[in-house]
Symmetry: C2
Subunit: 243 residues, 2 copies
C-alpha cells in the first residue's frame, strides 16, 4: 500500500527554468538600459556561458559579466541587473501547471506528502513559502542542509524514515532521471519521471530506473491510485489461498 | 552664484527609517506565523537590540535572532522573515514627500544635482533605480565605494571637483548634522539641515554648522533661490564701485 508521495521542487512543482531565463533576459536588458555598452545578444550569450561555468547559485553573476565584457565595474549597472532579475522572479514565480490539483487530490486521499530537493535552503524555502505550498507538505528535505545531494541515498532514506514509510510504500516524482529517479529507485521506491523542462530529453542513460513517465503532472494521481489498486488486488488473492 | 545642489539619500530623498521599521515588524510577524515560538513583543525587541549591536547592514539578522531566542536553526523560519522583510521593502519603497518636486524645480532652474551618500553601493543604487530618481542626477557619490564615510572631506571634495563647482557655489542638503552638515561645512559648502526622521533632534552639538534648517523638503528650493539672489545683489554693487 502506498503511504507517501515525494516530489522534487524545481521544474516539478515550481517553474524554474522558464522563470530563470525570463529573469536573465530582463536583467541584461536593464543593464543595457542603464549604460552597459554592449548589444543584447553578446551580453546574454556571455551571461549564459558564465552561468554554465560558475553555476546558477554563484552570487556574482553580474559583476563577473562586466569583467568578461571588459567593462569597468559600475555598481549602477550591476544593480540594474540584480533589480530586474529579482523583479522578474518576484512577479512571475508560479507553480507548474496542475501542481496544486495533484497535491490536493493526493492529500484528500490520505497520502503523506513531502518535498525532496537540492539547493540552497533559503532559496528553496522562499519558493515554497511565496507560493504557499507549505500547507500541503508533512515535511521538506533539502539536500544542502543535510550535507549531501541527490541521488545520494542518505536524503531519500532520511525522508522515508521521517515519513514512517517503507521504500515500497513510497513514490518519488521528479524531472531529473539521475538525481530523482535513479536516486529514489536505488533505495527501492516507486518512481515517476516527469518529462518537463530542460531535462525532458536528457540523462536518458538512467531511463530504466523510471517505473512511469508523465508529461502532464496531473497523471501522477492516477498512477498512484493504480499502484494501490494493484496491491489491493494482490492481497485478497493471498488471503484466499490462506483460507 | 550657486551651481550645484547635493543631497543625502536615506531619510532625505528616500524614506528609510519608516520603511525599515515596517519591514522588521512584518518579518517578525511572518516568522511567528511560520513557527517561531515566541510572542511578537519579545521577538521584535530582541531584533531591535541585535540590529543596534550588529548594524543594519549585517547579513544574518534573522539567523542571529533565532540564536538569541534559543530557538534551533530552521531555514523555513529564517526565510519567512527574509521574505516578509523584502516584500515590505519592495512594496512600500517611496521617496520623501516633496522630493521629486524639489529635484524637478532645481533641475528646471539649471542647477547641477548629485547625491552624496554612505552605505552599500548596490543597496543605494537599488533605491535610486527602483524609484527612478537617477534621471535627475548628474552623478552619485557613494562613500563605501570611495573607501571613506561622511563626514570625511574626501567625498565632498571629490563630488565638488566632478561637478565643477567651488564649495561656495554649492549647497548640501541632509538629515544628519554630523555626517552631512558638519561634513559639508568643513569643506566650505552652504548647508541645509533637513530635520526629518530619527535624527530630527539628534547630534545637536553640530547645529552651528547648519546655515539653514527645514522641516519640509520643498523649502530647499526657496533657500537656494535666496542664496543666488543675495549674491546677485552683492555683485552689481561691486560693479558699481568698479565703474
Amino acid at each position: 500500500m502506498i503511504k507517501a508521495v515525494f516530489f522534487d521542487l524545481d521544474d516539478t512543482l515550481v517553474e524554474t527554468t522558464k522563470l530563470a531565463d525570463m529573469a536573465r533576459r530582463n536583467a541584461v536588458e536593464n543593464m543595457i538600459r542603464h549604460g552597459l555598452p554592449v548589444d543584447f545578444e553578446t551580453a546574454y550569450k556571455e551571461l549564459m556561458e558564465l552561468i554554465k561555468e560558475y553555476g546558477s547559485n554563484f552570487g556574482k553573476h553580474f559583476d563577473y559579466l562586466l569583467r568578461r565584457l571588459d567593462v569597468p565595474y559600475d555598481p549602477k549597472i550591476v544593480t540594474a541587473g540584480v533589480i530586474a532579475y529579482h523583479n522578474t522572479k518576484f512577479a512571475y514565480l508560479k507553480s507548474v501547471k496542475g501542481a496544486r490539483k495533484v497535491l490536493l487530490d493526493l492529500k484528500k486521499e490520505g497520502y503523506k506528502l513531502a518535498i525532496i530537493t537540492d539547493g540552497d535552503p533559503l532559496k528553496q524555502w522562499e519558493k515554497i513559502l511565496r507560493l504557499e505550498l507549505d500547507e500541503f507538505f508533512d515535511d521538506v528535505f533539502i539536500s544542502d542542509y543535510l550535507g549531501v545531494r541527490k541521488p545520494h541515498p542518505k536524503i531519500f532514506e532520511k525522508a522515508l524514515r521521517r515519513m514512517g514509510a517503507r521504500p515500497e510504500e513510497s513514490v518519488m516524482v521528479g524531472d531529473r532521471l539521475y538525481s530523482d529517479i535513479y536516486g529514489a529507485k536505488r533505495v527501492g521506491m516507486h518512481t515517476i519521471w516527469f518529462r518537463y523542462g530542460k531535462y525532458a530529453n536528457r540523462e536518458l542513460e538512467y531511463i530504466d530506473y523510471a517505473d512511469f513517465q508523465v508529461r502532464v503532472l496531473e497523471d501522477v494521481v492516477e498512477i498512484v491510485r493504480g499502484l494501490n489498486r494493484e496491491e489491493a488486488e494482490e492481497r485478497p488473492d493471498t488471503e484466499v489461498h490462506a483460507d
